[in-house]
Structure formats: C-alpha cells, structure tokens
C-alpha cells in the first residue's frame, strides 16, 4: 500500500524553503541557471526558478539536462529512452548551475549529471537541489538543498507526482 508522505502544501512549503536557501547562498551573486533532470526535475527546476525570482527579482535561465547517455549502468540495464537536453542560449560558462531532481537515491544520476555538465561548459559553481532525499547513497555525493529527508528501505519505491504531468502534487512511498 502506498503511503503519502508529502502533500501539495508540503511540497509547496519545501520548495519555498529551498528557494530562500538558494537566494541566501547566492550572497548577491547573479547568473543562476536551473537545470532540471528529466522527467520531474524539469518541472521542479521551473517552479524553483519562479520562486527564487519572486524572492529576489533577477534573470534566471532554466534548462533541462538529460543524463541518460552518461549513466554508468547503460550496458547492464535495458535501454532507457533519452530525453531532450535544452541549455540556455548563453551557455553555462561562469554561471552558478543549480541541478534539480525529484529524488536523491544512489547518487549515480547526479554523478552522470556532473559529467554531462562538463561536456557542456565550465560553470563557476554547481549546486544540487532535490525534493526528496531517501538515503542509500552508493557514491560520495550529497545535496545542497533538500526538501525532505525521507528514510526508506532499499526495496521501497518513492513515487513523486507533479501536477504538470501527473494531475496532482504528492509524494508517496510503497
């Protein structure tokens, strides 16, 4: 049975808090680029960018970063469909990139994302924001901004729904 762990108000609050933390970490510096990791990281990146702009008006670029082809399990798992990568026209050199994903688990997606960023340019700083950190890291990686720490067992599934594609906002565990 699926158990709901975050409702829409919970998600909104978590993203707002992350937005404030990002503004705080900026220390007045501009040039933020939010890169969402498909599928749901893309929508979270757009929401966060809006929140940050509303807290501290500034021009924020938002893009998507598909990491599929940088994964280290391509030859072990059945083929995953790739997704488009959409980098802001000005590029990412010298910017602060905020990578955004829905769930942080083994850390392998983030590792792949860091490789993908390297192929695209050289940002000044890369930070990582995630809605849910469920633990069980397999690599020395941690998030800079976490919406909710969610202790889980390895074989549980954490399911993030976002209204942009799933009709509703909620996080459940099963």
């Amino acid at each position: 049975m699926a158990r709901i762990v975050l409702t829409k108000p919970d998600i909104d609050r978590a993203l707002t808090r992350i937005g404030h933390e990002i503004v705080e970490s900026q220390r007045g510096k501009t040039g933020l680029v939010f890169l969402g990791i498909p599928t749901r990281g893309v929508f979270l990146a757009r929401r966060l960018a809006e929140i940050v702009e509303s807290i501290q008006p500034q021009d924020i670029a938002v893009g998507t970063l598909d990491v599929t082809m940088y994964r280290d399990d391509i030859q072990q798992k059945s083929t995953r469909a790739t997704a488009p990568t959409d980098i802001p026209a000005a590029g990412i050199d010298g910017t602060t990139v905020i990578l955004v994903d829905d769930v942080l688990f083994s850390g392998r997606t983030v590792r792949a994302a860091l490789d993908a960023i390297t192929a695209l340019g050289r940002p000044d700083t890369v930070r990582f924001a995630v809605l849910v950190d469920r633990g069980h890291r397999e690599l020395p990686i941690r998030a800079d901004f976490v919406g909710k720490n969610l202790p889980s067992s390895v074989d549980e599934r954490v399911n993030v729904c976002l209204s942009e594609i799933d009709d509703t906002d909620e996080v459940s565990i099963a």
Binding site: Q76, S78, T79, A119
Partner: protein, 313 residues
C-alpha cells in the same frame, strides 16, 4: 532489441523512440564536447564487404562520438579475397573483441543470416545488404522528413498523413525497401515511381501506390520526393535506354521542383548523379535535404548503437 536488420522488425513505438533519440544525439553533436561516454570500453567493428566510404565514415563517426573503439574491416585486400568464408572472418573479428558488427555486404540477407546463424554473439547492424535493406538510411531519412515537416513539434510523432514519393530504381534499391516499411509503420503514404523494368514483379503486399512517371506522381502534390541513385550500368542491361530519357521521365528537374509546393522537400541518399536523377540546382535548392541527411545520419547511427547497447529485457 539485439540487432537491427530490417525496418520491418521495428514497432511504431520503437521507431519513434529511435527518431527521438536521434534528435537528442543531434543536440549532442552541436555541443563543444561532442563525445558521449556511452559506449566506453566497447568495440564497434565496421565490416564492409562492399565499398561505401560514406556509410562507413558515418558509422565510424557515430561509434567514436559514443566513445567506442572502432575497428574497420574492408574486403579489398583482406582475407576474404584469399577465400576465407564469411563465417570465419566474422568469428575472427569477434575473437578480437567486437561487441557490435556493422555489416555491409553485396548480397541480400547476409545480415539476417549472420544475426541468426549463431556464428557470433555480437550485435549486428545491417549497413546495407544487397538489394534488401539499409535500415539506418531509412531512419535518417524519416528523421529528416519529420524534423523538416514537423519542426519543433516533431518529438514523439510519426509521419501520419505525410505523402512520400520515391522515384528511381526501386527493384535494386535497399534504401527504397527500408523506407517503405518504416514509412508504413510511421503512418506515411508512399508512392513508388519507376519504369516497369525497375519496379519489382509484385509489390501488392507493400501497402504502396505506384506510378509510371514522375509527372503522374507529382499530380498529388507530395510532401516529400525521395530520389534514388540510378546505376548507370542499368542502361546497358536494358532497364532504360539512355540518361536523357531517364531524366526526362523520372529525373527531379528544376521544372518539376517549380510545380511543387514550397514546403515539399527533395531527398537523395547520395552519392548523387547530378543531372540524371536529380538536377544540380534542385540538389542545391533550399528544399533539398541532401547535406542535412548526411548530418542526421551520424546521429541516427548513434541512436541505433545506443538503443542496441542495453541488456535484453
């Protein structure tokens, strides 16, 4: 999917996914760093028993862009000319560590035989077998059509309702066959145009219309006119009498281009006989996709290599 032998084997979903992946690969081709780590440690053997510099270079570029090691085997001056069998040649290459065999052969059915024979375990990609199929060409062709005709809305879509006219030596064309099957799968309507000497004896099961002259076919205002390369030796074996006569009835001339709507694209798989199956000015016109097809070819082959890489589910 373990092998790519024929576009007939692709479901609509697989075909669209390959086209979408091609789009993603094309985006990578535009980056500063054009290389992906995807096939690191894997070896792609390009095994070409028939000369085709273009296709071979395209597959090499695709494999290198995915960080694979590439070894190239061409028949000229090789063990094949010393009488070694295809089976022995392929087993030798696999023993040297080939994970993918990109196979080009002058005889129809060779790729399928190699894939199903149990001779080797490697993934087999058909890079053109005789007059049978050339599936990666059809993928790059349909990708080119979809990008040109659907633009930003291309992702996830097929070619439903698109009218495609294919003109030329259908009888001997693996490009035509692979395109027909794939276009059918993607929902396009296909018309084949050729003199009766160059249309196979029975295409009733192909799901296509046929026309005898290009002018007849152009009446219906197609969205795509795909011209095929015509081998000049067909003239001496009675398939048609002369270049001028071929060009008159089946050549894509500037006059014929002028009759088409502006959005119609003109394609050619290359290498072109300018002035025979396609007029130089048509090949160089904005409606021509000839060079785009070449660029898309590398991305399409990357997509195929990537898609075959995953473990069998």
């Amino acid at each position: 999917m373990k092998h790519l032998i024929s576009t007939r084997d692709l479901t609509r979903e697989q075909a669209i996914s390959l086209l979408d992946t091609t789009a993603d690969m094309l985006e990578v081709r535009g980056r500063d760093v054009k290389k992906l780590p995807t096939l690191r440690g894997k070896t792609v053997a390009n095994v070409f028993f028939e000369d085709s510099t273009r296709t071979r270079l395209s597959f090499e570029a695709a494999a290198l862009a995915l960080s694979a090691d590439v070894s190239t085997f061409t028949a000229a001056g090789s063990s094949v000319s010393k009488g070694e069998s295809l089976k022995d040649t392929l087993q030798t290459l696999e023993a040297m560590g080939a994970d993918f065999v990109v196979l080009r052969h002058a005889h129809s059915g060779v790729a399928e035989t190699v894939a199903n024979s149990g001779w080797i375990d490697a993934h087999v990609i058909n890079a053109g077998d005789g007059t049978h199929e050339h599936p990666t060409q059809a993928l790059l062709d349909t990708f080119t059509m979809r990008s040109r005709l659907r633009g930003a809305d291309a992702r996830g879509s097929g070619l439903d309702g698109i009218d495609v006219t294919i003109v030329g030596d259908i009888l001997h064309s693996r490009v035509a066959r692979s395109n027909v099957w794939l276009l059918n799968t993607l929902g396009a309507r296909v018309t084949l145009v050729a003199p009766k000497t160059l249309i196979p004896a029975d295409v009733s099961a192909w799901g296509v219309s046929t026309a005898l002259t290009l002018d007849d076919a152009l009446e219906s205002n197609p969205d795509v006119v795909m011209t095929l390369r015509i081998q000049k030796e067909r003239m001496t074996s009675g398939f048609f009498p002369s270049e001028s006569e071929y060009s008159r009835f089946w050549g894509m001339t500037t006059q014929r281009l002028a009759r088409l709507k502006d959005s119609t694209i003109v394609m050619h798989p290359g290498p072109m006989n300018r002035g025979l199956e396609i007029a130089g000015a048509v090949a160089d016109s904005p409606q021509s996709t000839v060079t785009e097809q070449v660029a898309n070819g590398v991305a399409a082959r990357m997509a195929v290599l990537y898609t075959l890489t995953g473990a069998e589910s």
